[in-house]
Symmetry: C2
Subunit: 217 residues, 2 copies
DNA sequence: ACTGAATTCGAACGAACGTTCGAATTGTCG
DNA sequence: CGACAATTCGAACGTTCGTTCGAATTCAGT
């Protein structure tokens, strides 16, 4: 885990070093169940009673682990996003070819997306549900992730056909990838690697090809 | 308007032909305000009291025009989606070049999206909020729209490089386009035609180029 | 087994929710 | 103006919401 979940503990609660792991384990369990409920019903549509039922803990008991429903969503989003960024950085290390680095970016995103569909849907679909400092902290991670992708594309631009807007290209790529939560069906669609390959081909050809498309508008 | 809004009138309500237009005008007003509120707060997050405040009509008064909050969302989604499909069909008429037809598809989608941002966000973001027959009716329109796009791509495939999955390509294109509601900023970003041009270049190059991308995975 | 801390819970709080209903108001037309 | 339909509204309905609190239970170390 990227962020020690213990950091979420309610302020005035005492903490013994020995029980830290038990607390963390239980919190992680709750977060997993809550992720499923938020995924199924949406953040606003999911009630604390839904979360209580799904996680098998009493309504009041949940509040021992976090002080509000909003903070719960925040913990899910922050943990999910931190993890995907951290994994990306690890995978990019030692790879220098610009094109290969973009393929890694896409593969990392889609692999994590499909392996953690519920969490990623909550991250994508409930992006506007948080407010103030909660929203700001998640937005900061999102900005870092976005900047990394911009960097990858700018590197590619330095080598090849330079005639496209980096902003539009990056945001188009994010759209292609994130939209997957609306359509992916494990019984019909191939695995993450195949889809990442298809999207990588589509995107990289679109961005690197030097010849102009026929019938310019 | 594609669908006569009168169709929404509560079943047992009497109707005089003379007042039909007044009723329709008022309903359209309410729909517009409701669209803004749903866009800002989400369907679940928006309360009937929010809609009442925004539209300047009393809480009870709203129920003269529709029988439930869910039906209100349905009316918005159906009207929006029907309109975009209808406009697309009109624009495609008489154009035969497969590539040009896809460019028209993209332009139509993005122009309508940016001209009706709130409605399109409600359509994209609240796709799962409706249930049963409401959901089925909107899903039918979505399927038709999807099939049209598949047809356009298959036509293109017949001419040029055939090595891509139509399903993945179409859904990637939808992702690129629909994701725009998460990032478009009229103070920073160009107009719909420019963005449609960029995305059209990106997508069509990605889909038509015959040479394989270097460094095959 | 005892003890103090960590964890869980039943019950309740006030607020806000979607919806209803009968009365009041407005518009239409002879 | 009178009469009937169309439209609007205040007030309230029962339910569910997120959250709190003090008591009960479970756990860990001796």
């Amino acid at each position: 885990m990227a962020t020690p979940l213990t950091a979420a503990r309610v302020g005035s609660q005492p903490r013994a070093a020995a029980s830290a792991s038990r607390y963390d384990r239980r919190l992680a369990e709750i977060l997993t169940h809550a992720t499923d409920v938020f995924c199924k019903k949406g953040y606003e549509g999911a009630s604390m009673r839904d979360l209580s039922r799904e996680s098998g803990m009493s309504l009041a008991g949940l509040y021992y682990y976090f002080e509000s429903k909003e903070r719960l969503l925040f913990l899910i989003q922050k943990h999910t996003f931190s993890t995907i960024v951290q994994r990306l950085k690890a995978r990019l290390e030692g790879v220098n070819d610009p094109e290969e680095r973009i393929r890694i970016f896409i593969l990392n995103h889609l692999e994590y997306f499909l392996a953690n569909q519920a969490a990623m849907k909550v991250l994508s679909h409930e992006a506007e549900a948080l407010k103030n400092s909660f929203a700001a902290e998640v937005a900061a991670i999102k900005r870092e992730y976005y900047r990394i992708c911009v960097g990858l594309l700018d590197d590619l631009k330095r080598d090849r056909g330079p005639q496209f807007s980096t902003r539009i290209a990056v945001l188009s790529l994010f759209g292609m990838m994130n939209w997957i939560y609306t359509w992916h069906n494990p019984r019909v669609d191939a695995d993450a690697a195949s889809i990442a390959g298809e999207m990588g081909d589509l995107f990289l050809r679109g961005v690197t090809t030097e010849t102009k498309v026929r019938k310019e508008r």
